[in-house]
Amino acid sequence: MSYLVLARKWRPQLFEEVVGQRHVTKTLQNAIVGNRVPHALLFTGAKGVGKTSVARIMAKALNCQDGPTPLPCNQCQFCKDISAGVSIDVLEIDGASNTGVDDVRELRENVRYLPSKGSYKVYIIDEVHMLSNSAFNALLKTLEEPPEHVVFIFATTEPHKIPPTILSRCQRYDFKRIPTRDILAHLKLIVSDEKVQISDESLALIAREAEGSMRDAQSILDQAISFAGKDIGYDEIVEILGIIDRKLFYETSLSIIERKPQRCLDIIEDVYNYGYDIKEFYKGLLEQFRNLVVVKVAEAPSMLIDLPDSEIEDITTQGALVGIDEIQQLFSILANSEEDIIRSSNPRLVMEMTLVRMAHTRPLLSIDDILCKVDNLEKKLLNLNNEGNAAAYMPLEKPQFSSPSSQTAAISEIEHLEDTDDTQPSEAESGIKGGDTKETWLNLIGFVRKKRPLLASILELGHLINMDDGKIDIGLKKNSVLMDSINEPQNKKDLADIFMEFFQREMALNISVIVPDSDSASILKKNGKGSDGVRKLGEEALNNPIVQDAINIFGGKIIEIKTKQV
C-alpha cells in the first residue's frame, strides 16, 4: 500500500472537521437546512485552506442517502463513493487541464441527464481560473439557469482571473487563512492520533512556518515524522525546515544599527557555511526590520508580531536604540534589493553588499530636525550679517570691528556656507582703492537692490566714473530714461539715505552725462569694453569697401549694424 501523506489522510470529510472556515461551513449548512442551496458556488482563498475539501463535503451533504443534509453520514455508499472519488454523480474536473471550449461543450451535453443514483449532479471544477475565455463564455448560459438537479462548485486561488459575468452568477465564499492557533490545535490532534511525541514548542514552530495553510503545516509535520520517527525534537524540526535561528537576525540588525559592517559579513559567512538559504535569511531579516518598526509604532506589538513575548521584548530594546526614520530607511534599502537577491545566481554576494551598504548608511535626519537646524542657521546668519555689516562698512572709523578673531569665531559656526562672506569684510577693510573699487561698487549695487531694486538697476546701467571719500561720480547716457528717473527728487533722497547706510557716512552723488565716446573714461573697463567694441566694429563695417559698394549699387541705407557674438 502506497503511503498516504498526512494532508490526504487528514483531509476533512465532514463540515465539523474543517478548521478555521466556520463562516463558510455554517452558511452552507444553513443553506441546506433552509433548502436554499444555490446552483453555483465559488470557493476562493489561499492554498491549503480547505476549498477542495469543502467542495467535496458539500457534494456529500447534497447526495448523502439522508440528504440533502447538513450532517452527511460519511457511512453510506454515496458518501463513500464521493470520498473515494468514484461517484458518477459527482464529477471533479481539473479546470487547469481541461481548459478549452470543447471541454465545456461536452460538460453542457452531460448536464441535461439526471443523476443516476443521488439526488444531485455536482460538478466540482477545481483551478477554475485556468479555463479559457471562450470556455468561460460557453458556460455562462448553463451557469445562469442550469437544470434543477445540477450544482456547480468552482474552486480557485485566483478569483481575479475569473470574468465578472461568471462571478455574478455564483455565490462566492472567501476562505480565510487559518489562524496559527487553529493550525496548532489541529496538529496536536494529528500527533496524538499518529502517536507521535513532539513538544508544543515544535508544533508552534511548524504552525508558524505554515503561514496560514493547513496543508503546508501537515506536510512539514509529515517530513518531520519521516525524518525523526515517532519522537521529534525541536532541533530536528529546525534542521528539516532549515529554519534560521532568530538570534542571527537579531544580531544582524544590531550590527547594522551599530554600523559594524564587518560583523554583518561575519554573520553572512556563518549563514552560508551552515547551509542556510540566503534568500530565506533575507526574508527573515526583512521581517526583523518590520518588527522593529512595529514595536516602535504599535501599542500592543504582540498582536502584530507572531513571536514569543521574550523575543518581542528583545526587539523592543533594540528598537529603542534607533529612530523610526532610520529603521524605515534601512528597511527600504533592504526591500529594494529583493529583486537582486532573488534573481541573482550568487545571492550571497548581493546580500553581503546590501548589508555593507546598510551598515554604512548615515542616519537620516527627520524633517523636523532639519527644519530646526535650518532655523538655527538662519538666525546665526542674520547675526553674522549684522555683525559683518558693521564690521565691513565702518572700517574707516572703527577698524577694530573686523578684527580677525571675532570674524573667525562667527564664521566657523556657519562653516563653508559663507565662502563669499569672509572675503568681503577684508576688502572693505582695505578701503575703496584701486581694484577694490569695482568690488565695492558691485557690493553697493547689491545693497541698494535690497532696498530699492529700481534704483539698483539704474546704477547698474550707469558707469561709475569715480568713487572717492564722500563722493560718487556716476555717468549716464544723455537723454536716457535713466537720467530722468534718477534725477527725481524722491529717488535722489532715497539714494542718499541708502548710501548713508552703506558707507555709514555722507556720500555726495554726482551724476554726469557721458557721451558714448567717452566710455573709456569709465574706470569699469569691462563694462565699457562691450559697447565700445561694438561701436568700433560698426564703424569698421560701414567703412568696409564691400559694404560701401553695396550701398552704392542698391541705393540702400544703413538701418542697423549687428555684431556677431563670439
Partner: protein, 324 residues
C-alpha cells in the same frame, strides 16, 4: 551512483533515506537549491532506490531497474525536460495519461521534472491536481533553483527539501580528484565556483581562469582619460557570448573582494585570494561608497542584460561609469 555518491548534502540524503526506510515517501517532493549542488543526481538516485531490487533503501546500480534508469529507458521513470524554453501543457497532459497506469515493471512510478520553474502558467496549473492526489504508487520530484517562480499552490503541495551550496573544500577536493588539477588551482577554482560544482567543472576546463585574470587586469587599467580603451574593452566583452554572465560575476566578485578587504574581513573569505597584492593596493584607493557604487553599476548592467538590452551599449555604459 548510490546515495553516498551525492556529496555535501548529508542532511538531505538522511531525510530521504529515512523516508524510504519508514515507508513514508511523500507523493511529491520539491528539491530547492542553487545550480550544481546535486539535486538532479539525488532525484535519480531516489528513483533508483525506490525501484532497486537489491538494496532496500539505496541503489545498487547493478540490478535491471537501476541499469535501466541509468540508461534512461526505464518505463516507469520519466524525466520531463523543457521543450524549447518551457515545459508545455501537452507534456504535462502526456505525463498525466502515463501516470494513470500502474507501474509497468518497477515498484513505483517516478516522474522527475528538472527546471520546474520552466513550466508555463498553463502547465503549472494543470499539474496541480496530479500533484495533490496522484494515482497510487507515484512519486513526483520537482526540481528548481528558484521556488519563487513556482506557483504558491505548487509549493504548498510538495515536501520541500533545500539543498545547500557545496563547501569550497569539497569542491576543490572533487576537482583535484576528478579533473586532476593541482592543489592551488583546485582551491582557486573552488572559491570562484561559489558552491556550484557544475561551474567548477566549467572553470577547470578551457580558459576561463585566464579570462578572469585578463578581466581583472583590464578593469584595473581602465581610466577615464582613455575612453578608447574602455570602448575596446566593452567590444571585446560583448563578443564573449557564453562567458558574459560569468564575466560580470567575476567583476562583482573582484570589487566585492576589495570591499571585504577594506572592511577588514579575514583573508580566507576573499574569492580572488590570488590577487591579494592588487586588492590591498586598490582598497586604499577606493572609498566604501565608491565600491558600493561600482557594484551597483555592475548589478544594473546585469539586470539590463537579463532583459535583453543591447550588449555592447550596456557594457560601454557600465565600463564608462566604472572607470569614473
Amino acid at each position: 551512483m548510490s546515495f553516498k555518491d551525492v556529496l555535501g548534502q548529508d542532511r538531505q540524503i538522511e531525510i530521504i533515506k529515512k523516508a524510504i526506510e519508514n515507508n513514508r515517501v511523500p507523493h511529491a517532493y520539491l528539491f530547492l537549491g542553487e545550480e550544481g549542488v546535486g539535486k538532479k543526481r539525488t532525484a535519480l538516485t531516489l528513483a533508483k532506490a525506490l525501484n532497486c531490487c537489491a538494496e532496500p533503501a539505496d541503489s545498487c546500480d547493478e540490478c535491471g531497474p537501476c541499469r535501466k534508469i541509468i540508461n534512461g529507458n526505464h518505463p516507469d521513470v520519466t524525466v520531463v525536460e523543457p521543450e524549447g524554453n518551457s515545459i508545455k501543457i501537452n507534456q504535462i497532459r502526456g505525463l498525466q495519461r502515463s501516470l494513470q497506469y500502474k507501474p509497468y515493471e518497477g515498484k513505483k512510478k517516478v516522474c522527475i521534472i528538472p527546471n520546474a520553474e520552466k513550466m508555463n502558467p498553463a502547465s503549472a496549473n494543470s499539474i496541480l491536481k496530479t500533484l495533490e492526489e496522484p494515482p497510487p504508487e507515484t512519486v513526483l520530484i520537482l526540481i528548481t533553483t528558484s521556488s519563487h517562480l513556482l506557483l504558491s499552490t505548487i509549493n504548498s503541495r510538495c515536501q520541500k527539501l533545500k539543498f545547500q551550496p557545496l563547501t569550497n573544500d569539497l569542491i576543490s577536493k572533487i576537482i583535484k580528484e576528478k579533473v586532476g588539477k593541482d592543489e592551488e588551482t583546485s582551491l582557486k577554482i573552488a572559491s570562484l565556483a561559489g558552491g556550484n560544482l557544475n561551474r567548477a567543472y566549467e572553470l577547470s576546463e578551457g580558459t576561463t581562469l585566464e579570462y578572469r585574470n585578463r578581466l581583472i587586469e583590464k578593469i584595473n587599467a581602465l581610466s577615464p582619460n582613455n575612453i578608447n580603451e574602455t570602448f575596446e574593452f566593452a567590444e571585446e566583452m560583448s563578443k564573449e557570448k557564453e562567458e558574459l554572465v560569468g564575466a560580470l560575476q567575476f567583476l562583482k566578485a573582484w570589487f566585492r573582494d576589495i570591499l571585504i578587504f577594506k572592511e577588514g574581513c579575514p583573508l580566507d573569505r576573499l574569492i580572488n585570494a590570488d590577487f591579494l597584492e592588487e586588492i590591498k593596493r586598490l582598497s586604499g584607493r577606493f572609498t566604501t561608497t565608491d565600491l558600493l557604487r561600482k557594484l551597483r553599476i555592475i548589478n544594473d548592467a546585469e539586470l539590463a542584460l537579463l532583459r535583453n538590452s543591447n550588449k555592447r551599449l550596456t557594457l560601454e555604459v557600465m565600463l564608462g561609469k566604472l572607470c569614473q
